[in-house]
Symmetry: C2
Subunit: 322 residues, 2 copies
Amino acid sequence: MLDAIPDGEPHPWLYRLTRSYPSRPGKALRPALCLAAAGAFGGRPEDAMPAAVSIELLHNAFLVHDDIVDGSLRRRGHATLSAEFGTALALNAGDALAVLSNRVLRHYAHKLDRDLGDRLQSEFEVMALRTLEGQATELGWRHDDVRDLTPEHYLDLIMHKTCWYTSIHPLRVGALLGSGGTADLRPMVRFGFHLGAAFQIQDDLLNLEGDEREYGKEIDGDLFEGKRTLPLIHLAAEATGADRKIVDRYLGLDRSQRTSDLVEEVRSLLDTYGSIEYTRAYAQGIADTAYDTFEEAFAAAEPGPDVDFIRALIPYMLGRRS
Amino acid sequence: MLDAIPDGEPHPWLYRLTRSYPSRPGKALRPALCLAAAGAFGGRPEDAMPAAVSIELLHNAFLVHDDIVDGSLRRRGHATLSAEFGTALALNAGDALAVLSNRVLRHYAHKLDRDLGDRLQSEFEVMALRTLEGQATELGWRHDDVRDLTPEHYLDLIMHKTCWYTSIHPLRVGALLGSGGTADLRPMVRFGFHLGAAFQIQDDLLNLEGDEREYGKEIDGDLFEGKRTLPLIHLAAEATGADRKIVDRYLGLDRSQRTSDLVEEVRSLLDTYGSIEYTRAYAQGIADTAYDTFEEAFAAAEPGPDVDFIRALIPYMLGRRS
């Protein structure tokens, strides 16, 4: 991945920044999914490697911009780019990572059969727009202080914001390239949705009760931001009386008004109302459905270690600590 | 251009924002250059229209992000997206405009001869990286409070930050598409540089002495930001004694510390030291050179209204009020 990022000038203000997140240890979940899906549909790793690199570069671009928007301080165990270099240089570096992702993709698409290359680029565009639409909705909920959200609203949100680029897209692109364009990509949407939803819901939980060193981000960061996570949506629906007033007031505050004391108060209400337990059970239900949709999506795949790896990601999503 | 932007959901938080700047009256200088260059090299307007739309969409993406970074309040006579919707939603909308620009380009590239389509996409990548490199350098100068800048540093900066995407790229892409890939694009770099430099230097001047209504941005905005414009670089080199101390101190401040009184003080020093006059003369020198490089770049072009239009842009750059 680092080979795809120039190392020239202006190094201290651009390329040093673009190389930063990709140099930090990460799970590389998305490229791993893409390569395994390619293998499952008869391809070799090199068939999907440039696409996998492009996915991970775009993921890094999203992370840089998300960290600005969320005011996050820690990413993969180090300072965020925005915390270290300020909003302006970080924003610009995120833009550059998106261009570099696109460049890797185009170089590879040009080597493929023309229609296959065009389908590949089209998959990336759809994914990028889905993700930005989801991000806009989540930000919009906070911007307009939208209330009365249900788990269904949440699932629709994360379908766009998380699932498409975390799982649906890597699976579709891997299967597309591994099969040389013959695989049916439609069942990847359902399976990828369940896999990605399990990932995102576990992320909501880790943000509340993870180990900061393993997790790599600030614990309770979502609460400080007022992010409408599944536990918070549950609490907002269930809290009654004085607790209800506390939660309602909390949701309406700006980030700068959310003190540690307030965050602790809401955090403890999440326990009182069983919102953590609810979320854990919900994630389990999603994961159980993921097994069924997995069978459907990989019915035509070749049994072997790639298929086994992808199936094993379902329980991994709920068991992960980072 | 608006046809290239979806009008669906989430409308209030994404697509309404992406349609905002493209709906405001603008000069459309970049697409006009691209279309004229295509005509000058034997093409029809429709040969270059999708590329011209893609350029303008990317320009709008840059504007949205620039307005965040610069903390600007006004753009094309209305509130900036960041002023109206906040940093988060604006940043996300800028990202979406870049994806939409890319989508328009890819759809068109797919219809062209394959190598020509690939050259077209490659031109866009080079342009995007040049621009981001230039932006990084300008931001880096302010971030690290770089001093002792000369007009040569400034020209190198605006070559990257402004000229490539404002003039060099539209000219190259227009000539590429109009000629079906046969035109020599190299002389476009020199001419485009001079044309774009005249544009940027005039922008530095308009920012100091334009009419806010015509100009569409805040007057003295660059001074508040501490942007290293040509007039300011001249002043920093020329000021002596107590004035020197004022300027030095000013450069080292954060934006939030630059009060209206301080800005007014520096603004008046720009008059005292002839920095405005110097800049105006410098722009004239650049424009005069532009005529020579124009002849070189369009030696093989077909004489006619398109060539005349491009030549007429040279004096336009210095005469414009908006």
